[in-house]
Assembly symmetry: D2
Homo-oligomer: 304 residues x 4
């Protein structure tokens, strides 16, 4: 028996890259949080302290900023693929590069008919995400890309059309069945593409619209069922998506008990929004013929 180095990776996390496109007087803004990491044969750095195969995280940072200009950011997915390719080229010992991007949306400040040319207000709400992993191919072969698109912090709520009943009971069960309750979650969703020949922005919008539409228009017997319906619709409408994963904290809204108060009743009208604890539902919906891609999901937290 001996003690050895196991899986490892390193990189620069949370580079706050802001790209202004100003080729005309009508500027565009792209606001990103970029995290890079490299995997490969970096045992020397760990075991003997020899850094000669290590592309410093500082250089990774410089490259992330430089590529925002040199390559541009037509979409986070496209930018991440380019950046990952660069890192494999620059780092012979790396066998794969992983780029994670969050994108914060901005709107033009509504002045005049089409909004201001160079003044923006941050939209808030959910954040678009991507995780791109590029695996080096065999000698002479092209690398293998894995692209996961996604969003997080999409907070949705339905004030009726949700029940929870018929569940398993034991001696610690005190929950009353609910025929009509608030269902709310702050959704994290990530979906894996099987191709890179994708209109990333159009597909992102379509998936987001589908998630919202299914959440709104389907009756819910549990958050699990709702997630499944959402995932199913995304896969039905997007043949190049192999799987979608959800992490959905149940944002509990408890009906407030007014029974002791004079002249106040509460027919599903006043709730307290609770912080902790919270139900947490995680689930995957996938095509049964889709090859698994564990490399694509490595180091991506928040999913079972």
């Amino acid at each position: 028996m001996s003690i050895v180095l196991g899986p490892n990776q390193y990189g620069k996390a949370e580079n706050r890259v802001v790209r202004i496109t100003r080729d005309t007087a009508r500027h565009e803004i792209t606001d990103l949080n970029v995290s890079t990491s490299l995997r490969g044969d970096f045992a020397d750095a760990h075991v003997t302290g020899d850094q000669s195969k290590i592309l410093p995280t500082d250089t990774q940072k410089n490259t992330a900023f430089a590529y925002a200009k040199k390559h541009g950011v037509s979409s986070p997915e496209d930018y991440a693929l380019a950046l990952a390719g660069r890192f494999l080229d620059a780092t012979p010992a790396a066998t794969s590069a992983r780029i994670e991007v969050e994108q914060y949306a901005w709107d033009r400040i509504p002045v005049g008919e089409s909004g201001h040319d160079h003044a923006f207000v941050r939209r808030g709400g959910d954040t678009r995400t991507t995780v791109v992993t590029l695996e080096r191919g065999a000698e002479g072969a092209a690398p293998t890309p894995h692209v996961i698109s996604g969003l997080k912090d999409l907070v949705v709520l339905k004030s009726t059309g949700s029940e929870f009943k018929g569940y398993l009971r034991d001696e610690y069960t005190t929950l009353a069945e609910a025929d009509d309750r608030i269902l709310a979650t702050s959704l994290v969703a990530r979906w894996r593409h099987t191709s890179t020949d994708v209109d990333w922005n159009k597909t992102y919008d379509s998936v987001r619209d589908t998630l919202l539409e299914l959440f709104a228009t389907t009756y819910s017997r549990a958050l699990q069922e709702t997630l499944h319906l959402m995932g199913q619709a995304v896969l039905e409408r997007h043949p190049d998506i192999a799987e979608i994963r959800f992490s959905a904290p149940n944002k509990h809204h408890f009906l407030v008990d007014f029974s002791a108060f004079p002249d106040v009743d509460n027919h599903g009208e006043v709730f307290i929004a609770a912080d902790r604890p919270y139900g947490l539902i995680e689930a995957t919906v996938l095509r049964d013929d889709a090859p698994a891609a564990p490399e694509a999901w490595l180091a991506t937290p928040g999913f079972c």
Copy 2:
């Protein structure tokens, strides 16, 4: 000399009140964070431990939820005024009640022509706020209301039209003058009304629009100048607003230096968004004939 009790207040902070209006199939949602507090002659509770004049914070919580139904929430200001009045009635020892409310905006999920009837997505972005202080009047007189409306976390950015130069220099000055820079802030603004005969929602929208418009359409020689222009316009357009206060962290975006890199230049195109430290500008714009109202601002943090 003796050691005595000085100013004090107590209450229940951050009651997460969610009100669903469901009189018809088309529901409305109002999502609030309500903090209550009472001031007055509560020395016994502090000095001798006698609680007989203390309306418990638990009761304050119950009342905040009950009033969301009993009185309703046509606006955070109107709801806060009603709640403050209730607390003065219920607590003889209280000389004033302070209610602070944050309101989180939700949009209907866009399904069909006018959005879904009972499914919502949280808007994100800036939060509407109010601070209402109601002072008990003399025997038989009506209480005196103070209403401060506001917003926080309004993140705005202009990618040009901003300079900073001609400033004072000393031996620790290293900053280069900027002819063209990014100006960005996460604005907190609070404005004080001199009346309660106000269409709160309409006025709120108008002030928010004015703040955005002035930020977008004026040239900036410093964040100070921009805030002043914003405040001036708000007061010019709203005769019943006596003063407006701003707390504006400068969200620095530093141009990234590509001079050492081959084939990449940077003409105001790639920036790093910095976290700390940050410039922090605080300023008040007011009418010179407006009577001061220190009671209105007591315990409201974030302003000079």
Copy 3:
């Protein structure tokens, strides 16, 4: 009537200054978060955009770092006084300078008898704070210092020796009286000195010890009473402290109801620690002959 500039201040917030003293092989670490601000006649910057009286926040940042070396940091109070003096010297238009400091404690890693010479572990727990305001004196006179020392996030809990009963009741009261409950808070305390001829570090330790001792050793009929006892003891033991202010969120621990469960009872043994809402108690204890010092407290949030 005209619209004018009111109170204002500006500065650089949250400079993360880390000072290593390495005159010998046994290093010392001082870890600070420093926020500076200036008040005075800065109307030109706001109204006309003329920055000629403005010492940039970038220069303030540089000075904060330079003074960590040039003056040193024997205590946050002493360092802040020196820095404030420098800003009044460097900025003729400033009438006062306000320096806020947080200090994070580190311990030596326990290796050998007296801990390692240059390896440290961050202590966590409460943070020491200070707010120094230096007001420019009349022509030729020395400036007037105001020194507030303090701490925040001191989380304390007693598992018995606390009751809450005999309070005012109304129709929204549902709280049951408690003979024996958990009392817990995350304390913020700030105390104002009337002198600068103080051993700042020794006094800080003494006040902190006193706060802990009184919390532990006195019976509590309400958090208000406990705070008052703590404040009283601090003032009795420290003649140069004129007043102490507390902001104390009640960290509620609710007894969990096991009455429906077989074979489990709960005699004050299992609690759920709640997040929101929370009681919030704020109070001042002061000497009745201490002159008020509103300048000292300007822009310091969290107190009534």
Copy 4:
């Protein structure tokens, strides 16, 4: 091809369980954050909305609190094993139960010789963690336990004895080599036991001491090397630990450039502590003969 349910789990996250042991006048406090989840054959809940196999997250919460009394909490590991066992018993469809616990340390308030009997101050600093996964065995066989112990937010810093040089360079490299720098990280470490016949508290203390000792006493040519030395020592001293995983953000401390200032120099004495971006190093150290245990690590974020 069809669209199917993939991996999934559900449970109640962040139950804030506080257990007071009060069998004598000298109380003990155990302060936990407990997250539970179940995996198994729950497809009905997802696909058809049938909840009959689902033990509600509300019941999981009740059980977590009840077991803090019924079983007690001699250590987070022991408590989590008992709770996981209960969930497998109560939920026939579950094939495994995962319990994650964080424990917050409290100290007695130092009054008298041995500290106060029932008054405590929260220690702050790093948090002890555990992740227990219990897999149901074959018919009649005992379940298989996986126990991962750990800690997070252990912030350590060495002010000398660290270099970084000899690294790979490309055209985006601007970093200067460092002979003597600050090395700091906020460590997350998790180690997997191969047995449950362990003195959990003693082992925890020993591993934490080892991590600190190695960080302090070894020279560092990179954070990677330091982590490896720390991991190696843990495994050498604890035969029942099969592997240890680290996630270590490099908390950068940049030397401040005083070269433009008169009369101030900086020989490794004044640093700015930076927030973002940050290097992030993740690594595993393991025994080469230890069977892998992917089940043990499922859904545990923050590791490659």
